[in-house]
C-alpha cells in the first residue's frame, strides 16, 4: 500500500499519526484516503478549487512534484507520498 507521511503541523487531524498506509492510485486519491480516515486533513493540503495549497509541498519518494500536476501523479503500492508544510514565525 502507498504510504502518506504527515508533516508535524498537520498532525492535529491525524491525532499525532505520522504515517498512514492508504489505498490509492494517485496522489490525490492517497490524500483523500487519509482524509477519509482523519477528517480535516485534506483542506490543509488542497484548497477549495482543488489545487495544492501554496503553503504545502508534495514529494513522491523524495522528489518534489510540480504543483500543477502533482495531485494527478500515479502512485504504486510501494510509493511514499510526503507532505511538507511551510511554517515559520517572524
Amino acid at each position: 500500500m502507498p504510504k502518506v507521511i504527515i508533516p508535524p503541523p498537520y498532525r492535529g487531524p491525524t491525532q499525532g499519526t505520522t504515517e498512514v498506509d492508504v489505498d490509492g492510485g494517485s496522489v490525490i486519491e492517497c490524500l483523500e484516503a487519509v482524509d477519509h480516515k482523519f477528517p480535516g486533513f485534506l483542506p490543509l493540503v488542497v484548497d477549495q478549487d482543488g489545487a495544492v495549497q501554496r503553503f504545502a509541498k508534495l514529494f513522491l519518494n523524495g522528489d518534489q512534484l510540480d504543483s500543477d500536476a502533482a495531485l494527478r501523479t500515479p502512485v504504486s503500492s510501494k510509493d511514499e507520498v510526503e507532505v511538507l508544510a511551510a511554517i515559520a514565525g517572524g
Binding site: 508535524p8 503541523p9 498537520y10 501554496r54 515559520a88 514565525g89
Partner: protein, 577 residues
Amino acid sequence: MSGPTGDKLIYVDMTDQSIDVRDFPDEWKLLGGRGLSAKILLKECDPSCDPLGPDNVLVMAPGVLAGTAAPTSGRISIGGKSPLTGGIKEANTGGQPGQHLMKLGYRGIIVKGQPADAEKRYALEVNGDGVKIVAADDHKGKWNYALCEDLHGQYPATASFITCGPAGEARLTGASVATTDQDNRYPARHAARGGLGAVMGSKGLKYVAVDPGKTSARQPSDRKAFGALCKDYTKGYLEGPQMFKTGTSSIVPIANMLHTFPYKNRVDGQSPDAATLDGARIVESFETRGGTMHNCMTGCIVKCSNIVNDAQGEYKTSALEFETLTLLGANCAVASWEDVADMDRLCDEVGLDTIETGAAIAILMDAGQMEWGDADEMRKLIAEIPEGTERGNAVGNGAVAAGKFTGHHRVPEAKGQAIPAWDPRPLKATGVSYCTSPMGADHTAGLIVNPGLAPEQYAWESQKVQIVNTVCDSSGFCQFLQPSLDDIRAFYGALYGEEVSRETIHDQGWQVLEDEWEFNRQAGFTAADDKMADCLGQDAVGAEGAKVVFDVPAEIIQAVFKRMPAQEELFTAKASG
C-alpha cells in the same frame, strides 16, 4: 592553521565614556551571539540590578559564523537584563552590523554604566582605525528612519548602524534595537523583544556605526573544506522547496486554519479577515507597486524579507512579517494589510516591538478604551508614544503595563512578555517553551508547530527545540535557513579546523540554557513563574467540538529543566522560529 585569530571584545563604560578593547578568550571561540551574551551577562551583570540603571550590561554579539562566507549567517544578538520580564534577554536580528563587526574582528560590544546626565546622547564608532565614543546630542529624539538618513550622509556608504529610537530613549519597556538592512540604509531589522531598546536608551547610546571599509570576509582554517561546505549547503537549500521565498506573511492562511491566528485579544484563534491579511496580497502588490523579496543581509540565500511599497510605488516598510500581521492586524481586528504596513513602519520608526505593541493595543480595545479595528486611532496612538502621553506610555511599556493601565483581566503573557502569534492552546508544546524559556513568551526560543503531540512528548520536544534554537542563535545562522546541530557543528569544524562532536554541541546548547536559567534564578525567578497567563487556561479556541485551553500540568513543564539523554533527532532537527 587555527581559523580566525586575534579577535577582540569592545568594553564601553558610559559613566565616563571610556573604551577598553580586550582580547577575546580563545576558550570562547565557539561562543557567539546568544551563548556569548549569556556567558558575559552571568559573569558581569548583577541579576538583581535595575535593568534601566547603571549596573545593567548591554551586549551586542554577532554569531560565530558572522563575517564568513557561510550562507545566511550574519545575525547579531542583543542581550541584557530585560526591563520587560526582569530576566535575561537575547533578541536576535539580521541586517549588516553583525557581518561588519566580525569582519573587523570584534566578537562583541559590552556596554556598562550610565552617563550622569540623562539628557546627553552618545554614539559608538567602530572601524578599521579602532573604536571611539562621540557626542550625538544632535540626534537626540530622532525617529529611526530620519536618524539613519542623516547617518547615511555622515558616514561612508560602507557603514551600517545599530540604533535606538525615541521609545528606547524614553526607556519604554517595549522598545526595540534597530539594525540597518543590507544596503545599510533602512533601520528595518529589529532586535525587538524584551525591551532591550530601553536598556540602550538608558545608557545614552543613540547609535553604533560600524564601518568595515573594504575588509574581506573572515578566513576559515580550512578554506577548501569550508568553501565546499558553503557550496553544498547553498545548493541543497536552493534545490529544496524554499519554504520562505514569499515571506513569513504568506503563512497567514495555514495559521488561520490551525487556529493560531489570534483574533480580538485571543478570544478566537481565527480571524474573518485572514484573506485580506494574507501575505499573498503583499506579493500581488509587487506587480503594480514595485516591491520585491530581498535579503536583509549580505550572503543570505533565504530572502524571506519583503519590501513593501505604497500605492505610489514608494518604499513604505520592510519586512512585513507574519507576527506583525497577526498582533497589529488580526489580534486588533484590523482587516487590511496596508494598515498593518503603516503601523509596522511606525513601530520601526519609534523603535517598538510590533508583537508587544499589538498585544498591548488589543488589551486597550478589549477593555473598551478603543474600537476594535480602528486603524486610524492605532496609527495616532503609536505616533504619540514618543510624546510620553499616559496612553502612549502604557502601550509602549507592553501588554502587562496595558493590563494595569486598563484594569483589564485578559493579558496573554508569560514571564511578563506578550504571547506571539503562535498560540499555546492548539500548540501546547510551544506553550511549554513559553513557560520554560529563559526568554519568556518568545516563539524564536522554541516553536513547535505540531498540534498532534501527546502530553508526554511536550517536555522533550520543547527541550530539543530550545537547544537547537539556542545553538542556532549563537551561530549567526538565521532560523529560517533551518540549520540542524549537525549542520552547525560541521561549519564550526571547518572554520576552526577541528572536529566539533555531537556531545560538544549538545553541551554548548544546554550550557547556554543553564546560564540563562541561573541568571533568572539569581534575579528572583522561581518555579512559580514558569506558567502561562490565566486567561489562556480559561478561554478556549479551536473548531467547534474540539476547543482547547492551555492545560499542561506543572510536572510536564518542570521536566524541561532536567537534561534528557540526546536522541538522534536532536542533531538532525531543524531550527524552528
